[in-house]
């Protein structure tokens, strides 16, 4: 249980959404040899598709109980909220057709789309929506969502088509939470094993450790799916998945690394590149010497050559971040922070001398052994640090050990890991570094940062809030809270005759847009 919850925190993707009005400059480009516009044949309606996934969905399928990223990713196609995120992180109407927000921000009235049908054939009523909110608030395992819903004092059906939410205090991120309250039929109790939603795909069956099968929802309210049948086939690990891809028994797979992509035959598959939506960094424990010294941390930042890391581990793929925000966060992301610490061995040495470590020191980098990209990054870091006289050793541990000892127990010097956001709110990435936060694994303790975060949380004006969050992010860079590296490249491979894959700033795969071409 414990493991599951933590998984939800990091790996777990953020299906909750956020107010990202500005378009994220999300890159969705084909790698050489896979020209997306070039393959624009005639769109085919129908067909069956097998998506390979390399981890078991060890999870409940209940919309409020599921925790793993993989499960959310699959069920994104089955469940919908009143609103849902689009590829730019905006919220578009889904089960609701429109909504009205009161001037004081304390009341939201959602008007339901007429004749939206659940997969069981029943029409969605205001009562279903109210019941869904109630069940979600009472049972959700997502603590951030539970906290947000606790400020919703009343959910009422105004009439058959309208539902009103009353809040005790304004919440600028409310829509992102509304999007994660999936609407399911009132009184239906079997979602854990046979989910019923309103999404473009219907749940057909699930065989634990084997597959999840979905089919097209022919009565979808919107522009439905192209594919008739969708099978998520579960593989033991990426090796098994790559074997299956090589043999052609899988049509599509996501979350691959460049090394894995390179083992495939380019004649059969095309590759689409996006980002993983996480912040990979060398996270430093501020309670442990010498990382309590800002100069040492800055020295590390100068000593590490991010470009070289990208070149060595991913043939240059990946996006530099510079702070605890990744680029898909659009309006919160400040590109100018990326170059704050250019690679400079001399400067690093000078800072180390000033800090009292002219001959460097010894340190340990703890890495979970199941995440190859983090291990590879750490390996390069070890080499780079040697050049400034720091003798780093790699300590590879089991994921479970990493969670209990390193993350929960905070018994570590430094670690390479990626943090992602449980929701597309800036707080999801930044709150954890507030000195009193439970998730502050690095023991970051900066009064100015705490103050900025407090102000941001209380700011009602959108622009002001964004500015404050940006300042907070900048503060992380200035104090060299961690050695920020990158948002990893995420590769999706699919058969040549497939098209339409769209990246989201969230950990989801929107299969409704995927289609075959003639």
């Amino acid at each position: 249980m414990f493991k599951k919850r933590i998984l939800a925190l990091f790996l777990a993707g953020a299906l909750l959404a956020a107010v990202l009005s500005a378009c994220g400059d999300k890159k969705t480009q084909g790698t050489p040899g896979s020209d997306e516009t070039g393959s624009s044949g005639e769109t085919v309606n129908g067909g069956e598709l097998v998506v390979g996934i390399s981890q078991d969905l060890g999870d409940s399928l209940d919309p409020y109980q599921m925790t793993a990223a993989g499960t959310r990713e699959v069920l994104f196609n089955v469940y919908e909220g009143l609103v849902k995120p689009d590829k730019d992180g905006n919220f578009i109407p889904a089960v609701a057709e429109s909504f009205v927000k009161s001037d004081d921000g304390l009341s939201y009235t959602f008007t339901l789309r007429a004749n939206v049908k659940f997969h069981n054939g029943a029409v969605v009523t205001a009562n279903d929506v109210v019941k869904s909110f109630e069940t979600c608030a009472a049972t959700t395992v997502d603590t951030a969502l539970a906290a947000a819903l606790s400020t919703v004092t009343k959910v009422e059906a105004v009439d058959d088509q309208n539902v009103r939410l009353t809040l005790s205090e304004p919440n600028g991120d409310l829509l992102s939470y509304v999007a994660s309250v999936y609407i399911t039929p009132a009184g239906y109790a079997n979602n854990a094993t046979a989910p019923v939603g309103t999404g473009p795909f219907k749940f057909v069956s699930r065989a634990v450790q084997e597959n999840v099968i979905l089919e097209k929802n022919t009565e979808y309210w919107g522009e439905g799916a192209y594919l008739d049948k969708l099978t998520y086939k579960i593989y033991e690990d990426t090796t098994a998945l790559m074997n299956a891809l090589g043999a052609g028994s899988v049509d599509m797979a996501a979350h691959l690394t460049i090394d894995q992509v390179n083992t495939l035959n380019t004649a059969d598959y095309k590759t689409v590149e996006g980002t993983m939506n996480l912040v990979q960094a060398l996270y430093l424990n501020h309670k442990v010497a010498p990382f309590d010294n800002e100069k040492v941390r800055q020295a590390l930042c100068y000593a590490i050559n991010v470009d070289e890391i990208l070149a060595l581990t991913a043939e240059g793929h990946g996006t530099k971040v510079g702070t605890s925000i990744y680029p898909a966060f659009g309006k919160y992301f400040d590109p100018s922070l990326v170059g704050s610490y250019p690679y400079d061995v001399e400067k690093a040495k000078k800072l180390l001398t000033e800090a009292g470590y002219p001959n460097g020191f010894e340190m340990t980098i703890t890495v979970p052994n199941n995440y190859t990209p983090h291990v590879n990054t750490a390996e390069v870091i070890v080499e780079q640090l040697a050049k400034v006289g720091i003798k780093a050793t790699l300590n590879q541990v089991e994921w479970g050990t990493w969670l209990s000892e390193t993350y929960q127990g905070r018994k570590f010097q430094s670690t390479v890991i990626g943090f992602d956001a449980v929701s597309l709110t800036a707080g999801a990435l930044l709150n954890r570094w507030v000195s009193t936060d439970d998730k502050n694994m690095i023991n970051y303790n900066d009064a100015k940062y705490d103050e900025l975060m407090k102000q941001a949380a209380n700011a009602i004006d959108d622009q002001k809030r964004i500015d404050l969050y940006k300042q907070a992010a900048k503060r992380l860079t200035e104090t060299a809270a961690n050695v920020y590296i990158q948002d990893l490249a995420d590769f999706v491979v699919m058969k040549k005759n497939l098209d339409g894959y769209v990246f989201y700033p969230l950990y989801v795969m929107d299969m409704a847009k995927v289609h075959y071409v003639k």
Binding site: M1, Q65, T193, A207, Y235, G246, A247
Partner: protein, 313 residues
């Protein structure tokens, strides 16, 4: 008949004890079901409330009776991890495991009896000596390694099957059988070697006995004597051994399912041990234990039944 009744009684007692142990074992484990279900966000009050709801505050004996009762009526509880009825999960997984074990048993019989007879007939020859050494080697290769070797040779190199890409029997029965052949052979191989060795020595023992000599003196050829007389008697220990092997193969199957990524109950068991999914582990352990006990029981009965000495006497 009396013997069978007595054995049957022991069988029921054994199963009862096994079920009691399976139940009690999971009572000792730190952290009760309620705590585990709530995870890190549970408050003491919530735990207490859930314990009451789940009936964990009742006396152990009543809980056990309840559990056994519902287990026998097919209700095996709900998985903590998947939130699914355990009996449904097991029903999904059982066919693959049963197929694996049956195929393994089949291979064991089909391979070991002809080879055993052959080596006995040519005892002392070159082939026999080579087989004896080969047998010893085969007995020494762990099924895990056999499986990995098969994956490499027949999977990655020869592409007879795709390692890790399990094909379900309802998807494509031919591909399923091709895929299952290798794991089945992996668990059968060391057993084949043992059976060959046993059959060979048992045959040679029989051949030395007086009645075979009499058969010779009556003008039967060595081959006829072997086939008509010695084989029948020397099969007794072999059949018993193979029956016991059927129980052992289930255990080897747990591991081999992991090697070939076969979604059977073995792999479910390993995964559930990892996530401390007690209801699933409890159910699988009980099912596997029942299989072992029943197979041993049948082996007992079988040996009594086919052994002519017992029948005559």
């Amino acid at each position: 008949m009396k013997y069978i009744a007595k054995k049957l009684f022991t069988l029921i007692i054994t199963l009862f004890i096994v079920s009691l142990l399976a139940f009690l074992a999971f009572q000792i484990i730190p952290g009760n079901a309620a705590v585990l279900r709530l995870g890190t966000n549970g408050t003491p009050q919530q735990v207490e409330q859930l314990k009451e709801e789940m009936g964990l505050n009742r006396p152990i004996a009543i809980q056990y009776g309840d559990w056994l009762g519902s287990f026998l009526s097919g209700d095996m509880g709900v998985s903590y991890t998947y939130n699914m009825p355990v009996e449904d999960m097991i029903a999904q997984k059982l066919p693959s495991t049963v197929a694996l074990v049956l195929l393994g048993c089949l291979l064991m019989v089909v391979l070991s009896i002809p080879i055993g007879i052959f080596t006995a007939r040519h005892a002392g020859g070159v082939v026999d000596r080579v087989m004896t050494v080969l047998n010893q080697v085969l007995m020494s290769i762990p099924p895990v390694f056999v499986g990995i070797l098969f994956s490499f040779v027949f999977g990655i190199t020869l592409r007879v099957f795709i390692p890790g890409d399990f094909v379900s029997w309802d998807e494509n029965i031919t591909q399923f059988l091709v895929f299952m052949f290798f794991p089945a052979l992996s668990i059968a191989l060391s057993r084949v070697a043992m059976t060959v060795k046993l059959l060979r020595s048992s045959l040679l023992d029989e051949m030395d006995k007086n009645y075979i000599r009499t058969a010779f003196s009556r003008g039967h050829s060595r081959d006829t004597a072997l086939r008509q007389h010695a084989l029948r008697n020397s099969l007794v220990p072999v059949v018993v051994f193979m029956a016991v092997s059927a129980a052992e193969m289930v255990a080897a199957g747990i591991i081999i399912e992991q090697v070939f990524a076969i979604p059977g109950i073995g792999r479910l068991l390993i995964a559930s041990i990892g996530t401390y999914d007690f209801p699933v582990v409890q159910a699988i352990v009980l099912i596997l234990a029942t299989w072992v006990v029943v197979v041993n029981f049948l082996a007992d009965i079988l040996s009594q039944y086919i052994d002519p000495r017992v029948r005559l006497g």
